[in-house]
């Protein structure tokens, strides 16, 4: 299987051949930064296009199909439209917080995005507390949402922000506990290590029952954390018009919009990495030929394939279910998901201690 580490190492050596170490590092950091931001945009566009098409399929519609082949250029047009739209400033808003909020949301999203291992050797932020860092940075997003709700000085926005505060922070708990369940199995928090340890079997198969429960809980909690239906209460368009981003327009709104979709991708990407092996192909012990065939598929295809599959699962959920109510959403978390995931953690401990996993 092709290792992208070869390319990065080659660039590194080439830069070192005519400049000092410090300068080379700076240039590499800038290159990686540009790469991440470009990838972020590409992913956002793919996700929005996918959302439109998937949703259209569920709703007996066609979706965008006029601009470009299969409507693919539509997204580009939308981005241009969004960029050229006026950003309306609200007279009685808290200007500083109001303008700051979308950047905090996008910052949290980009930081979490950089943790994902996209393929063999394509890891941007990869250190021994990777999962911890990802959880920490993605939870900064809630600050942005709260600031947006508060800074807009709009009653709907404030209700939306209060809801998101209650919801996103609660669901962080069960999402973290379900990730912890798998960390028990791997005894590492580094993403690259986690992927490497799934070389024989993916964790969802290796950890069987507790891993599967953790996977389901993670999907529910992750979905709630990124405010997508049926947990889209902070924006709940039929109740609060647009919730916390009611007052945002133009590219400020665009940042929220893009962050929402990429957060979905991140949640799916983490689920794919932790439970479904990340970029690791499907290997079955003993089937050498099969494994060799699987290795021919590039790692990046594996990663995006799995992630988009999980995204599709989440979209399926969103476009089928009605929205929950705020008390129901908190009941679900505190009375069901947290006890179940705690118990699940205990089961996983027993499984690991007695080596009951595959």
């Amino acid at each position: 299987m092709f290792d992208f580490g070869i390319i990065t190492k080659w660039i590194h050596d080439w830069l070192l051949s005519f400049m000092p170490m410090g300068l080379a590092t700076v240039i590499e950091c800038m290159l990686v930064g540009i790469f991440i931001i470009l990838l972020y945009l590409v992913v956002a566009v793919i996700m929005i296009y996918m959302e439109r098409k998937v949703c259209a399929a569920f709703q007996c519609r066609l979706g965008p199909n006029r601009v470009g082949p299969w409507g693919t250029i539509q997204l580009v047009c939308d981005v241009i439209k969004m960029l050229t739209k006026e950003i309306i400033s609200i007279r009685s808003s808290d200007k500083f917080l109001y303008n700051l909020a979308p950047f905090i949301v996008i910052l949290a999203s980009v930081m979490a995005f950089s943790c994902l291992p996209f393929g063999r050797g394509i890891e941007v932020l990869d250190f021994n507390v990777g999962i911890f860092f990802l959880m920490a940075s993605s939870s900064i997003g809630v600050v942005g949402v709260l600031l947006a709700g508060w800074g807009s000085n709009n009653k709907y926005s404030l209700i939306g922000a209060m809801r998101s505060g209650a919801q996103m922070i609660s669901y962080e708990l069960s999402a973290s506990i379900s990730l912890l369940t798998i960390i028990l199995l791997t005894d590492t928090m580094q993403f690259s290590e986690i992927v490497m340890r799934q070389e024989d079997t993916w964790f969802i198969f290796k950890g069987h029952i507790p891993a599967f429960i953790a996977f389901v809980i993670y999907l529910i909690a992750g979905n709630a954390e990124v405010n997508r239906g049926p947990f889209d209460l902070p924006e709940a368009e039929s109740e609060l018009t647009a919730g916390f981003h009611t007052e945002y327009s133009g590219m400020h709104f665009g940042l929220f919009y893009v962050a929402e979709f990429v957060n979905l991708f991140i949640i799916a990407g983490v689920a794919a990495t932790i439970f479904l092996g990340g970029w690791m192909p499907l290997h079955i012990a003993g089937w050498e030929n099969f494994n060799a065939v699987m290795d021919f598929i590039p790692s990046i295809v594996w990663f995006f394939g799995k992630t988009l599959f999980v995204v599709w699962l989440l979209m399926w959920m969103k476009w089928t279910f009605p929205r929950l109510r705020i008390d129901q959403i908190l009941t679900l978390e505190w009375k069901y998901l947290i006890p179940i995931s705690m118990l699940n953690l205990l089961i996983m401990t027993i499984v690991v201690v007695f080596k009951l996993h595959f």
């Binding site: 949703c55 007996c60 009605p322 929950l324 109510r325 705020i326 008390d327 129901q328």
Partner: protein, 518 residues
């Protein structure tokens, strides 16, 4: 022509209370009238829900400056909004009414438009925004006969009041609620109507009878056919016209198609309000088929202008029967799909069961007819109470639930679609031959008298009250709105519910705003 019992205004409250104790618990309609020299007054249509007896009461005051009548809002809760409407239109102040404000018109409106001596030039088009008033008044009469007005506040200054509407995705039009919140919990709800008020009743007074028909379709646009049916029936009753059997059948079938159309739209919108965006499209996809059927016969899709006085505009299209049959065959299995995708969903049931409960007593007292009343266990179907058109010839069940919550209201409407399909199935093959239009004089004049007739609209009893003085214009034409009792009950249903429940209640109560505002 109905028998009207006249009661002096001083005794009115006591007499009304007596009738209430005799079992007249449902205030069908409350109409204010300006009789000119003979005074300003109101006509009360009452019904005893257990014996189905009807009586009509009348009271009036001769004073034109600062007229007063006694309020019956403490006897029938539904009177509260109707009395506000009369205050708005005629300036009659109701003593003992808890909240004597204008209902539809602006606070700064000059004069009372439905009075016969109203001067239109007093109210030029105002370009300024209306200030939301937080004041209300309560009028009390002292033992010595003098009247004092108490000023009252709607909301305290430290309450967190948010506006839901007039431009809000879940109010299905331009209805506005002012909601006082404590966290997510609704403490008080105040309904503001009138954003789509067109003064249809006032307009009708200067139109000829055939012209008034055109306006009924614009009331409840999801019951366009039924509304017009009611007005045609009322005028036909007044003039003593017998329409042919064929017309009766066609009208019945059209009414039921319209009901299915409305209930499919109800399903779609309820799904969307609860956040199930996909189910929304299913309902709209199938509603389109009904609209196609309408279009081929009537030429209209939403507004059909089909009924006329003494008949219908045109005969049914040649493929009408076959198209309707195909549709029935298509819709039955599709309804099962609806239930699979939405009704059985655990989130949907959690959101609607036990939410927004309206008791049977309250439902009758508010006069919330239609699906809302039947979900509370009140058999209020006009088709059964006072059969009209071809409804006495067919078999169908009146769907009754007893829970009175959102889920019951939803299920009543879903089951009613099936009943409507049954009704159409019984009629569609036996449409008798006959004229589609009775020959009438070119100028229609209705004999003197007062007339009331009602149909079961898509969301309740739609009544037409007509007072004629023998002219070619109605002297007073009042439409009993199906939606006004529904919104008047919102405050009761929403107390201590959450914001999300308000949306669920609004969706399942299924009001249509142009019908409220008229």
């Amino acid at each position: 022509m109905e028998d009207i019992i006249y009661i002096e205004k001083e005794k009115f409250h006591d007499v009304a209370l007596e009738y209430r104790k005799k079992g007249y618990d449902f205030l069908r309609s409350l109409t204010g009238i300006d009789w000119g020299e003979d005074g300003l007054g109101a006509i009360y249509h009452l019904e005893n829900t257990s014996t189905k007896e009807n009586i009509v009461l009348k009271t009036l005051t001769l004073r034109r400056e600062d007229p007063h009548l006694l309020s019956v809002a403490d006897i029938w809760k539904g009177a509260e909004f109707n009395e506000r409407e009369i205050y708005d239109y005629f300036g009659i102040q109701f003593i003992g009414h808890p909240d004597m404000r204008r209902l539809f018109l602006r606070e700064d409106w000059v004069g009372f438009p439905l009075r016969k001596d109203y001067d239109m030039s007093l109210n030029p088009l105002r370009m300024s925004n209306e200030e939301t008033s937080n004041d209300t008044q309560f009028i009390e009469v002292l033992p010595d006969g003098s009247v004092i007005k108490h000023r009252d506040l709607l909301f305290d200054n430290d309450e967190y009041v948010i506006n839901i509407g007039p431009q809000h995705p879940a109010t299905h039009g331009v209805l506005r609620f002012r909601v006082s919140l404590e966290g997510e919990i609704i403490k008080k709800l105040d309904v503001h109507c009138g954003y789509i008020h067109r003064g249809i009743e006032k307009m009708c007074e200067s139109l000829t009878y055939p012209q008034t028909l055109a306006l009924t379709d614009r009331l409840d646009y999801l019951g366009a056919h039924q509304n017009r049916h009611a007005l045609c029936m009322c005028i036909e009753k007044a003039m003593g016209i017998e329409v042919s059997e064929r017309v009766q059948y066609i009208r019945t079938i059209m009414d039921e198609l319209q009901r299915i159309d409305s209930h499919l739209l109800f399903y779609s919108c309820a799904c969307m309000d609860l956040g199930a965006l996909t189910a929304f499209f299913y309902g709209f996809r199938d509603r389109e088929k009904i609209l196609d059927i309408f279009e081929s016969t009537t030429g209209g899709r939403l507004i059909q202008n089909y009924n006329t006085i003494g008949g219908v505009q045109a005969d049914i299209a040649p493929d009408f029967v076959s198209k309707v049959k195909d549709f029935i065959k298509y819709l039955r299995p599709t309804l099962k799909e609806y239930h699979d995708v939405f009704t059985g969903n655990v989130i949907m049931q959690g959101r609607t069961k036990g939410v927004g409960v309206l008791s049977r007593e309250d439902a009758i007292s508010f006069g919330t007819t239609g699906g809302t009343g039947r979900a509370s266990g009140w058999a209020c179907d006009v088709r059964k109470r006072h059969p009209y058109a071809a409804y006495d010839k067919i078999q169908f069940d009146e769907i009754l639930y007893t829970e009175g919550d959102c889920f019951a209201r939803y299920m009543v409407r879903m089951k009613e679609i099936e009943q409507s399909l049954n009704i159409i199935e019984q009629l569609i093959d036996n449409i008798p031959e006959g004229d589609i239009q009775v020959k009438l004089k070119p100028i229609i004049k209705v004999p003197e008298g007062t007339y009331y007739s009602a149909v079961e609209g898509s969301r309740g009893e739609f009544g037409v009250f007509l007072e004629s003085r023998g002219d070619k214009h109605p002297y007073r034409l009042k439409f009993r709105s199906t939606g006004l009792p529904l919104v008047s009950a919102m405050n009761t249903m929403c107390r201590n519910a959450k914001i999300a429940d308000l949306i669920a209640i609004g969706a399942t109560v299924d009001y249509v705003v142009p019908d409220i505002d008229r």
